[in-house]
């Protein structure tokens, strides 16, 4: 048990002394996840809104596909993105393999179905009296659409939290697409995997503490949002 205790102590030392290698992994994670979340929200919220709000031919099929993509294994996403970005792949010329933007593309594929599915669900779950209320208060079609998005805002934020939790804790995409390159594409999760494999628990524990802190913040925010979304 001593080595665990020792690991925890050293982990805190690494964190609070601002160890550059540890923070390099944290910054890589923040960079890739921020990029992927921004793209996922920009694309996912309008698509999810459309899926939940409008009735159109093929809606059920699209819904089934999106729901299936929710359980897409991260290593499979990593494999697919790798295949596209590798030198012989269709996007080989972009030079995105083993880069933070490359990881972000993979993470976007992971987050996008979550945002779309949860936004669609949130819009479908809105009170049936909402459109009538907005019309009788004098809203035009554009104002009705915007007010509907605003009514679903807590659930959409919940979707963003769920997606962020998944993105920040994934290993498969970061490992395959990023290549776990020190000072460059090594993220929190790939660093934990590598350091633990080497028997270096301290950095693994330090980064694990950061991940747990992120999970705690996401969880607290999610609990608050759930309460508001239900009311």
């Amino acid at each position: 048990m001593d080595f665990l205790l020792q690991g925890f102590l050293q982990g805190f030392v690494l964190l609070f002394s601002g160890d550059s290698e540890t923070f390099s992994a944290i910054f890589a994670t923040v960079g890739a996840s921020s990029f992927s979340m921004a793209i996922s929200l920009l694309l996912g919220v309008p698509l999810g809104f459309l899926l939940g709000y409008k009735d159109f031919f093929g809606k059920r099929v699209i819904r089934t596909i999106v729901d299936t993509l929710l359980s897409f294994p991260t290593v499979v996403i990593g494999l697919l993105v790798y295949a596209f970005l590798t030198r012989h792949g269709p996007l080989g010329g972009t030079g995105l393999l083993f880069s933070i933007p490359g990881i972000a593309i993979g993470q976007t594929l992971l987050a996008l179905p979550i945002i779309i599915a949860m936004t669609a669900q949130a819009v479908e779950a809105l009170d049936k009296r909402l459109p009538m209320t907005l019309i009788t208060l004098g809203s035009n079609s554009r104002q009705i659409l915007w007010a509907t998005v605003m009514e679903a805002r807590f659930s959409i934020m919940l979707a963003a939290m769920a997606a962020y939790g998944r993105v920040v804790s994934e290993v498969g995409i970061s490992m395959l697409v990023g290549g776990n390159i020190k000072w460059h594409t090594r993220t929190i999760t790939t660093a934990i995997a590598l350091e633990t494999g080497k028997g270096e628990f301290a950095m693994g524990i330090a980064l694990g503490i950061v991940l747990l802190a992120v999970a705690l913040i996401v969880n607290i925010a999610t609990t608050g949002l759930k309460k508001k979304a239900v009311h």
Binding site: M132, T133, L137, S139
Partner: protein
Amino acid sequence: MDCPLISLDHIRQIYNGRTVLSIDDLDIGCGDIIGLAGPNGSGKSTLLKILAFLNTPTAGTISFMGSPTTIKPGPVHRQVTLLVQEPYLLKRTVHANVAYGLRVRKKSDISTKVHNALIEVGLDPEKFSNRQWFELSGGEAQRVALAARLVLKPKMLLMDEPTASLDTKSSQLIRKAALRARETNGTSLVIASHDLPWLNEVSDRTIHLEDGIIQEIK
């Protein structure tokens, strides 16, 4: 003002082959107070939704200020508004709920208007303005919903059982505020209620509906 405000001409509403509303001729004038009475399922709510331009009748013409009007979000909904028995409040503060209709109309001096509307319905603005939608009782929510409509100074306010599930105090405040809107702004009121004595007391005319047909007008 062009009167009558709303005219119904040979209106029929049919659901699943069953005629739920059949009105050959009905005019609602400016500043009228019309009571709607009748048992459950008699067509009161259906008529109110048609008058609110929310439902397209299966047949017939509905005119607003002399012009036949189509049913979609449009200018007419800035003149006619509906308060239902259990209104939906937006997931915002009381102030934002009451201000919503003013904002979509790009009105000025919103805070003063919201303040006055809350007083009209017996809610203390200092106490209620910043309350969230889920911090209100049923009676308070109903009064906020009424304030959100009165603040718009509509030409017509339709009310579907507005006091059915409320305590006496809230009921009285809602009734008073609605009648005051008619006195001060000339708002026409159409009120569906089971409270026949009240309807007879305040209405210029009370329409008795049964099976979607007007049985009598008093």
